[in-house]
């Protein structure tokens, strides 16, 4: 039986803030966080699993992330802020995650918003 979870996370993202802001945790597989060092927001993908994780990014190709390692992916600028759409694939764990991350512009601090669809036991 395939199990599917939908996970949503959002957090204020002060421009130039020190350190990443956690958004979504897909337990045992991947943690997603975002940071805005001042020029361009980027997504931090941390492989929390014991196996290689393949990250497929819209318009940017495919990258393998080793267990325990992280990958920084810049968000694409949009009229409303910034956005990213990606797949996270683990053949060993037979799991697939689709994630959509955006930074919503605001007169105050921006807000980072993420939603992940996680399918396991494929």
């Amino acid at each position: 039986m395939t199990a599917t979870d939908v996970i949503a996370g959002a957090a204020a993202l002060p421009r130039g803030a020190v350190g990443p802001v956690a958004l979504v945790e897909v337990r045992g597989l991947v943690d997603l966080a975002v940071e805005d060092p001042g020029q361009r927001a980027q997504l931090l993908v941390h492989n929390s699993s014991a196996d290689r994780l393949t990250v497929v990014v819209d318009d940017a190709g495919e990258v393998a992330v080793a267990p325990g390692a992280s990958l920084a992916v810049p968000l694409h600028a949009t009229v409303d802020g910034a956005r990213l759409h990606l797949h996270l694939l683990s053949a060993a764990a037979q799991r697939v995650v689709t994630a959509v991350v955006s930074v919503e512009a605001s007169s105050d601090d921006a807000v980072a918003v993420a939603q992940a669809i996680s399918v396991g036991a494929l």
């Binding site: 395939t2 599917t4 979870d5 939908v6 996970i7 949503a8 996370g9 959002a10 957090a11 204020a12 956690a22 958004l23 979504v24 945790e25 393949t54 497929v56 819209d58 318009d59 495919e62 409303d80 956005r83 759409h85 990606l86 797949h87 694939l89 053949a91 037979q94 697939v96 689709t98 959509v100 955006s102 919503e104 807000v111 918003v113 939603q115 669809i117 399918v119 494929l122």
Partner: protein, 131 residues
């Protein structure tokens, strides 16, 4: 608006599965295509109020067989931080297409977020295609 993202995953015991996904910001009441698998199916959706309506077009010579149902978006299982302000929701749909001797099964999950400041609903869909 982002395009359809496609990838494949090779599974040791089950061959390959195809993964399709797409995410669009929609105005309430607008119908939009979310997923297109060439030669297999096209999935459109329309959101009116709390109701999510799906439209599946069968692009194969075989019959379309629906296995699941899509109703009003349910509250997502996990909501973290400030995400509740975006009223996350989900809906699930399963169907099969293709000729009798080579059926293709598709499991679709649609996740939604509402952005009242912009007057739009973000609909993100993921399809797992087997066969």
């Amino acid at each position: 608006v982002t395009g359809v993202l496609r990838s494949e995953l090779a599974l040791p015991a089950h061959g390959r599965v195809r993964v399709l996904s797409c995410s669009k910001d929609l105005e309430p009441g607008a119908r939009a295509m979310l997923l297109l698998a060439e030669g297999l199916f096209r999935l459109d959706i329309m959101i009116v109020g709390d109701a999510l309506q799906t439209f599946v077009r069968n692009l194969t010579s075989g019959e379309l067989e629906l296995h699941g149902e899509v109703g009003q978006p349910r509250v997502a299982i996990t909501t973290l931080g400030l995400a509740a302000r975006y009223a996350p929701g989900r809906a699930d749909l399963r169907f099969a297409v293709g000729p009798a001797d080579a059926r293709i099964t598709i499991a679709v999950t649609i996740a939604t977020l509402r952005f009242p400041d912009r007057g739009v609903i973000r609909a993100s869909a993921q399809a797992i295609v087997r066969g």
